[in-house]
Amino acid sequence: MTTFTPAPGAAGTGRMLAAQTRMEFKLLLRNGEQVGLTLVIPLLLEFFFNLPMLYSLDGRRIDFMVPSILALAVMSASFTGLAIGTGFERKYAVLKRLGATALPRQVLLLGKTCAVLILQVFQAALICGFGLVLGWHPAGNPIWAGLLLIAGTLAFGGLGLLLAGTVRAEVTLAAANLIWLVLLFGGGIAIPLSRYPAAAADLLRFLPSAALSDGLHQVLQHGGGFPVRDLLTLLVWAGLALPAAARWFRWE
């Protein structure tokens, strides 16, 4: 017979984070649209933008395309997907209930970010694999690319959670899509920053999308060395956004 004699206390942070990440990841996979958004759309874009009819590019088209699609996929899953999912969880009081447990906010947000990170390992593998099929010739050190993807996930995840935790779900939905679009075209992913006037490009390169995209292009397309400035830019965004999300995130 179960006894309910009180023995309260919070679990260790590591155990909570592991459990939270596992649950968030399972739920991500169960959410069909989410999986579609994350896995299928980038592959379709990779295929269509690789067709030489839209606009001309210098060099081999697919070698430009794969780093772009990787950046876009990170931004879609970590920013837009996470923001919208979390926004609606807040709206439907999912998070209110979690707020009444021993789970700290930081661990909830980190768990969500880690779950997206795991999803992106699969996503990156698919994009790269499909790229190879389309004739992609990767250059550079894959570890640098991996670091960029992780830093990008943390930065975009933090921004997405900050948005979801502070405004209404409907506003999150609209804003997450709009910002995604702006970053896609103005942030160096769909259109190389070299096509912009120099003054604008100097400013735009500090957007997280531009840093991620530029870093990935430097490493994977041009075989560049350790992408110091881009990695640093992303880590600064992550270092600002994640604590801000934890600070201002409201459960309800």
Partner: protein
């Protein structure tokens, strides 16, 4: 650890121009069960959510296990189990057992999730997604989620709403065991029988004010005259009957041939009434005994608005 489970003083809460709580005070001793009874909008959920730290009071003080819920949330939350109104909360896409295990993973010494699920009667629903559970099943899962961390104090907001009678009985038995095991409980309810069955103390809230408080027995006793009714030929000498009864009993004949004895109903009173009738050769027909239940007290207290 000697601080009361809950101590609330002069709590005031306003929503815009409306005042939801007009300065209520209450104390729950360790190991006690308090029922907050009231109609919709009486202020039950507001009170409980302030204690849970979800809302802040406009004035007054709140101490839960000796801590301030709006300041010491980090320290308090692991010690408190919560059952929110309206469904489970938490991830509705998760399976019942998964969600319960997740909540267990937040606690240092959780109960076994599978055992607990069986205990609330959901063993067969373990792998069903939460959103496919019936309303009553969701309530039971929600209760299990509140319990799994072995809290010292539980806040249960309408724990048996939407349950069938069978499930309510099972839940009552569980809540009684919680008390036996030393868990302090605050629950809100619309159901008078629930308060009467479970509570050490009942507080009746009406329009944000405490209109009555005490043990269920005290509340029923306090202003609770019972009634004995019977029919007999009209014209009995009611003053004579009244003399034969314990002092304080009021006898009247509201309609010809219908008699009413108003007094706390005891076996002695009933015996005295029937003895007087026998002595006077009167056959008391259709004799009925009405004892006040908490329901009568509640209806009396909350029917006069304002």
């Amino acid at each position: 650890m000697s601080a009361p489970a809950v101590e609330v003083r002069n709590l005031v809460k306003r929503y815009g121009a409306a005042t939801a709580l007009h300065g209520i005070s209450l104390t729950v001793a360790r190991g006690q069960l308090l029922a907050l009874l009231g109609t919709n909008g009486a202020g039950k959920t507001t009170t409980i959510e302030i204690c849970e730290g979800f809302r802040r009071a406009d004035s007054g003080s709140v101490r839960v296990l000796g801590l301030d819920p709006s300041v010491d949330a980090r320290e308090l939350r692991p010690q408190v189990g919560v059952m929110l109104q309206d469904g489970v909360g938490g991830y509705t896409g998760a399976k019942a057992l998964e969600l319960l295990e997740l909540f267990g993973s937040y606690a240092a010494h959780p109960l076994d999730a599978r055992d607990l699920l069986a205990r609330v009667g959901l063993a067969e629903a373990a792998s069903r997604p939460v959103k496919r559970l019936s309303g009553g099943q969701q309530q039971r899962l929600s209760l299990a989620m509140a319990l799994i961390g072995r809290p010292a104090l539980l806040f249960l907001d309408e724990p048996t709403a939407g349950m069938d009678p069978q499930a309510r009985r099972t839940t009552w038995a569980l809540i009684r065991q919680l008390r036996t095991d030393g868990v302090s409980v605050v629950l809100t309810t619309h159901y008078l029988d629930e308060a009467e069955e479970l509570a050490d103390n009942v507080i009746v809230l009406h329009e944000g004010q405490i209109v009555a408080e005490g043990s269920p027995a005290e509340l029923v006793r306090s202003d609770a005259a019972g009634k004995i009714r019977f029919s007999a030929p009209s014209g009995l000498v009611i003053a004579d009957l009244q003399l034969a009864l314990p002092s304080g009993a009021q006898v009247s004949e509201p309609a010809p041939g219908n008699y009413l004895v108003a007094a706390p109903v005891t076996p002695e009173l009933l015996a005295a009434v029937t003895a007087w009738c026998a002595a006077h050769g009167v056959l008391a027909e259709g004799l009925t005994v009405e004892r006040r239940r908490l329901e009568d007290v509640f209806l009396t207290l909350t029917s006069s608005s304002g």
